[in-house]
Symmetry: C2
Subunit: 292 residues, 2 copies
């Protein structure tokens, strides 16, 4: 199928380009190995794919989005490395492989995360295909999505909520920030690079908000119903770690209903943008039904 | 004295502006407190002062450099928070106060560092006084100075060198990267914002290289001859931790001689730039003779 093979091609490009960004770095081998280890650990590459799929909807070539797509994946990867640390989630496995600190030690894992985060901004700043004013906007929005008002803020709220009963509102705050802001940025960045109108950008931002929440609800459902081998980590860890989840607050059926509702809202908004959104619709289906 | 009061005024401005950048953030209180705790822990503010002093040498007003100056201090502060962590230097005190992880816990300290690093790029990107092309250059150079090819690379090399006998060349690699690149950036950023010619930029970059090495030699000497109360941490820790230092490789007298030689080279280069470098000369004197 055309869409599937296009997405596969995007994924290959992203993975090749990620490696191509790291290998020429003039840096100690240890840090390059630690950065590459986690970048090459696989994963769905959902953020860069969302960016490139949005760009595609505006009929723009992939190469104008590849640097920001890779920067996004670097920032997502840094966040996983730091989240897995003993003082955070203390995870030994990620995507079926030992976590970064298990292989390189805690100090190098922290530094590999720091390096990926820092380098992500350089990758965007050094992009030759994009004008300075667009790059400044992309950098500002990325920092906001990833920093204290975005992903880092969500992680802090998540840690504070551990072992406590929290409201649905608090749970949504956590997910909107911890995973939502960066997913939303993926789509906004694609739209900005694609030359979206302000109205299209507003619609796509709202679309991304529903998509981000749906993504997290599916994650919570998979922690109950998923297969360990496909997910690459132990299931049932949310209950074990006393984490607040959608199924815990809404029941499993309630969570499934909310997932469907959010996806319906997302798809309706996507229709309204009047762009060629076939790839984005396909990714919506993947997110709703994914098994890992 | 005019120079002293100008530097004091700069320092006050930097410290006020740092707080003003953090307070309005829409983020969990914990992360804002942890960010502010380390930003407000004092220190010499040598990097932002070098930037503003360089800008002054080009007769440019302070306000065009304040955002980059604050971004620099945020990145320096994040590096201290992460360096102090148990898996790195495991320090309990910094500038006479408990380190960030001692107050906020390890997870929040890691996240406060991540937040400061990320936000630093946003602060530059959002600056209203600077053109997009200059901002892109400043962001690219900052990421390079702070990332795997700069400060993070130096920290990795430093950790790898612990407990080993290393050569003077390796020691200089560590310092040029761990502290040198960011100090050099301070001066380059001031020069770029000040409208330096390419020749002036080259001279100032070489000046900053000597200054950075001299700064580190003075640090090593203070760890032997300094007063704990003034430094705010235990002296003799380099010997205790089996760290390679200039005095260990060159004897204390040899290190002092090298410090003088580097400062002479630095001052000679500064003369050649033909800028009004009175503030920079004054900071050179401070770096050469500082007792903390």
């Amino acid at each position: 199928m055309k869409i599937q093979s296009l997405l596969r091609q995007y994924k290959t490009q992203i993975e090749q380009q990620l490696t191509a960004y790291i290998e020429p770095l003039q840096a100690p081998e240890t840090i390059k190995e630690a950065m590459l280890y986690s970048l090459q650990a696989g994963g769905k590459r959902i953020r860069p794919l969302l960016l490139l799929a949005t760009l595609h909807a505006f009929r723009k070539p992939m190469d104008i989005g590849i640097s920001v797509a890779c920067a996004l994946e670097m920032i997502h990867t840094y966040s996983l490395i730091h989240d897995d640390l003993p003082s955070m989630d203390n995870d030994d496995l990620r995507r079926g492989k030992p976590t970064n600190h298990k292989v390189f030690g805690e100090a190098n894992a922290i530094l590999a995360g720091d390096a990926l985060l820092t380098y992500a901004f350089q990758v965007i700043a050094d992009d030759k295909n994009t004008s300075p004013d667009v790059k400044v906007r992309l950098i500002s929005e990325l920092a906001k999505a990833a920093g204290p008002e975005g992903m880092v803020g969500g992680q802090v709220a998540d840690l504070e909520g551990e072992g406590k009963t929290i409201s649905l509102q608090q749970l949504e705050y956590i997910h909107r920030h911890k995973t939502g802001k960066l997913l939303q940025y993926s789509i906004r960045a694609g739209a900005i690079l694609g030359g979206a109108t302000e109205q299209q950008l507003t619609l796509l931002t709202a679309f991304a908000d529903y998509l981000g929440l749906a993504f997290q609800i599916r994650d919570d459902i998979l922690d109950i119903e998923g297969e360990e081998q496909k997910i690459g980590k132990k299931i049932g860890s949310d209950v074990e770690n006393d984490k607040s989840t959608y199924p815990a607050l809404l029941t499993l059926d309630g969570a499934k209903r909310k997932l469907r509702d959010h996806m319906t809202e997302a798809r309706t908004l996507l229709e309204q943008t009047e762009i060629d959104a076939s790839l984005l619709h396909y990714i919506c289906d993947l997110i709703e039904t994914r098994d890992h």
